[in-house]
């Protein structure tokens, strides 16, 4: 799993690729909380286009990001979810809680 950050306007986009599971989900959590809590970025956009699989520990990291964004008054947006990622959020009844967009343009413009 690889994760990198870039700035677009006032947003930070985190590009993630590979699989997010128990072996590496703490890295996702750490990256999210660094942007949302430490840097105080007003909008964090998580690009999941390159993510093939995400497990419950990865979902837990996303929930932590969501909670951190609510606490800090910032926005946390997802895009590029494949069927597997949508299914795991849906079965966890979390899909409607997240702002989910199809692509980066929509996520930035939202």
């Amino acid at each position: 799993m690889k994760i990198s950050a870039r700035r677009v306007d006032k947003a930070t986009i985190l590009d993630v690729s590979g699989n997010i599971d128990m072996s590496n989900s703490p890295e996702v959590r750490k990256a999210l909380l660094r942007e949302l809590r430490e840097k105080g970025v007003s909008r964090v956009v998580l690009n999941l286009t390159g993510v093939e699989y995400i497990d419950s520990s990865g979902v837990a990291s996303l929930v932590e990001g969501l909670k951190a964004s609510r606490e800090s008054g910032s926005r946390f947006v997802l895009f590029g979810l494949n069927d597997s990622a949508r299914e795991v959020l849906k079965i966890s009844r979390l899909l409607k809680l997240f702002e989910v967009y199809d692509d980066e343009t929509q996520a930035i413009a939202s």
């Binding site: 072996s23 699989y53 809680l97």
Partner: protein
């Protein structure tokens, strides 16, 4: 002999009568980096058994979460403990139709699971963690935990709801 095979109680060895449909055994250590290996092995197997891509993802997700739970809870994060995964093909007849299915047995040598803690948490509360069991139950037709001698055994079953599929013609019913 591997540690789990050595500890297998008699009734579990007897269950190898199901070997008519036995397909795959995976032996691994409890290192989280091996989760991707399990997922990688199960994908083609589910395709071979005739599962739809959606059902395949559900099965893989359930097994991945179950193995993660073993690593996290049964072995408390120790990365060198044994886990075994057995996959068998199942067939059953319902209303004159043949359903193809898969049975996956997971064994570990951790302490007995407190079955009172096997309730999935309510999903109303938005908080991280505690989703694994809910995902497993939501993905499979059957989820059964059993303490078998000194082993924990988790049995997962899913049927494809289709007469298409598979390999061989052995006909068995889930135990």
């Amino acid at each position: 002999m591997n540690p789990i095979a050595a500890k297998q109680p008699r009734d579990m060895k007897k269950s190898s009568k199901l070997s008519r449909s036995f397909l795959l055994k995976l032996e691994l250590r409890s290192h989280p980096t091996l989760l991707c290996v399990i997922r990688g092995a199960l994908g083609p197997l589910m395709e071979m058994l005739g599962f739809s891509p959606e059902h395949s993802r559900e099965i893989i997700r359930a097994v991945d979460e179950a193995v993660s739970n073993i690593m996290r809870h049964s072995y408390q994060g120790r990365p060198d403990q044994p886990i075994e995964v057995y996959c068998s093909r199942l067939q059953r007849r319902t209303n004159g139709e043949t359903e193809q299915g898969v049975e996956i047995l997971l064994f570990d040598c951790g302490p007995a699971v407190d079955t009172t803690k096997l309730e999935a948490r309510p999903l109303d509360e938005v908080r991280p963690g505690g989703l694994g069991l809910h995902i497993i139950r939501g993905s499979m037709d059957t989820v059964q935990y059993k303490r078998a001698g000194r082993l924990n055994r988790l049995r997962l079953v899913k049927f494809a709801r289709s007469s298409k599929g598979g390999c061989g013609s052995a006909e068995e019913k889930p135990s």
